[in-house]
């Protein structure tokens, strides 16, 4: 693709679906214009470009919209063929990356909603499911870093790293919010090392939602709304 491309991303600062697209654009070295969307006051463009869901993120490339974060990431990978690749070349390895991306995107995010918005027994039950998922993911990550030592010195961030960053890099702030450990360095050492290595990449910390802001402005009020509804304002 030549330099005359117009790339616009409609996103929202607190959404991991949005930040993962930004991260991918940066890894691929694609210049883009960013439009911050306010859920209470969506731009007419957003409603036009994603009429079915009216949600972010939406990538508009030369006037044509693409919606759904993982669809956007695949689109970016397929269109910008030169430079850093987000997926491995080998089809089976590619399938393995997609499997874990899908795993994080569905199973983990679903159960974390329960963990963040509940307490007591309900939360405990959800947490035990989270630990099971984390153990499985730890095994999964091991297949990409066989020596058990994730680093990014020799290679660029890939699709799984990008999605993982958008979802996991705020984990210690979330742990503080709910007062419980989610990712244990002893029980899931490779997963923990992977996330630590991701957090050390400047490109990741510059792009993902700042964890403290995410917790204080979004997650804490959201949790309060369920646990102490009479105390919350909205």
């Amino acid at each position: 693709m030549t330099g005359k491309d117009s790339v616009i991303l409609h996103g929202m600062w607190a959404s991991p679906y949005s930040t993962r697209v930004e991260l991918a654009l940066k890894v691929k070295g694609i210049s883009y214009e960013y439009v911050e969307e306010d859920f209470k006051n969506k731009t007419p463009e957003l409603l036009k470009y994603n009429p079915v869901h009216k949600k972010i993120p939406v990538l508009v490339h030369n006037g044509k919209p693409v919606a759904e974060s993982l669809v956007i990431l695949q689109y970016i990978e397929e269109v910008w063929k030169d430079g850093p690749q987000l997926l491995p070349h080998d089809p089976h390895e590619k399938a393995q990356v997609r499997f874990w991306v899908h795993f994080i995107n569905t199973k983990y995010t679903e159960i974390m909603t329960t963990v963040i918005t509940t307490e007591g027994e309900v939360q405990e039950k959800a947490l035990s499911q989270v630990y099971e998922l984390m153990k499985l993911l730890d095994e999964g990550i091991k297949t990409f870093f066989p020596d058990g030592n994730p680093t990014f010195e020799a290679k660029n961030l890939g699709l799984l790293d990008i999605v993982g960053s958008s979802v996991f890099c705020a984990f210690s702030a979330v742990e503080e919010l709910i007062g419980v450990k989610i990712i244990d360095p002893e029980k899931t050492p490779v997963l923990f090392s992977w996330i630590t290595a991701l957090r050390e990449q400047p490109i990741v910390m510059e792009t993902i939602t700042p964890p403290e802001k995410l917790v204080s402005l979004i997650l804490r009020p959201w949790r309060q709304g369920f646990i102490n509804p009479h105390l919350s304002q909205s």
Partner: protein, 230 residues
């Protein structure tokens, strides 16, 4: 190994006869003329083999190629399309491809809305669930193929395969629960698509037997709509 060499290796599909997700995979293989071995798995009595092949989700379909395993029908379809490029399942234009994947995701995400009515006993809740299913189906109807025969154009593709549930399973669920959801008058485009889809030779010769499927769904419905015992 070259792609050509890889494409010659043995293919195996582990499935269950009632699963639309399994059919997506076997339809794709047949459309591309790829030989495969099929192994029926009883999902109500899972074998050790299945648990070994898919330890994370313990589900079908499981796709094995040259000894390597892939699960999740969407991921399997992408792999199949990349490994056997003849009769491509996705458009060549990247934006059209993105639209296909958008609709595939939509169908996957909304499956529980489409099927909710099936798990309700006759009455208020069922009526509500039918309305909800119709709301979401209306979105497919509105964006359904206008001039083209299929969602993917003149020939069927990944989007159509992912919509296969509408063609055989929805009608069986409707019959088993005694309700009509996809009325012909309200959903002319989807009805036309279903007719065209069922005419495609690979599809016509490979789908679950309607009578058997209805009986299966009737039994399933009995299980799920049993009144709670005290």
């Amino acid at each position: 190994m070259s792609r050509k060499e890889r494409s010659m290796e043995e293919v195996k599909v582990i499935g269950f006869w009632t699963s639309p997700y399994v059919y997506r995979v076997t339809w794709a293989l047949k459309l591309k003329g790829v030989e495969y071995e099929y192994q029926e798995e009883d999902i109500w009595n899972k074998s050790d083999l299945l648990l070994q092949y898919n330890p994370v989700h313990k589900k079908v379909p499981v796709f094995v190629h040259g000894g390597k395993t892939i699960v999740e029908s969407g991921i399997i379809l992408e792999y199949i399309d990349e490994t056997w490029p003849q009769n491509p399942l996705v458009p060549t234009d990247p934006h059209a491809r993105a639209m296909a994947r958008f609709w595939i995701k939509f169908v996957g995400d909304k499956m529980r809305n489409f099927q909710g009515f099936f798990f309700k006993r006759a009455g208020e809740e069922q009526i509500k669930a039918v309305k909800e299913a119709q709301e979401y189906l209306k979105i497919l109807e509105d964006h359904g193929p206008e001039e083209k025969k299929f969602f993917d154009g003149d020939n069927i593709g990944m989007t159509d395969l992912s919509m296969g549930w509408l063609a055989f399973w929805l009608e069986a669920m409707e019959e088993a629960s005694g309700v009509q959801v996809l009325e012909a008058n309200s959903f002319p485009r989807l009805h036309a698509w279903i007719r065209n889809f069922k005419q495609v030779p690979v599809i016509k010769e490979n789908h679950p037997d309607h009578t058997r499927l209805v009986a299966y769904f009737k039994r399933l419905r009995e299980m799920f709509t049993k009144p709670a015992t005290t």
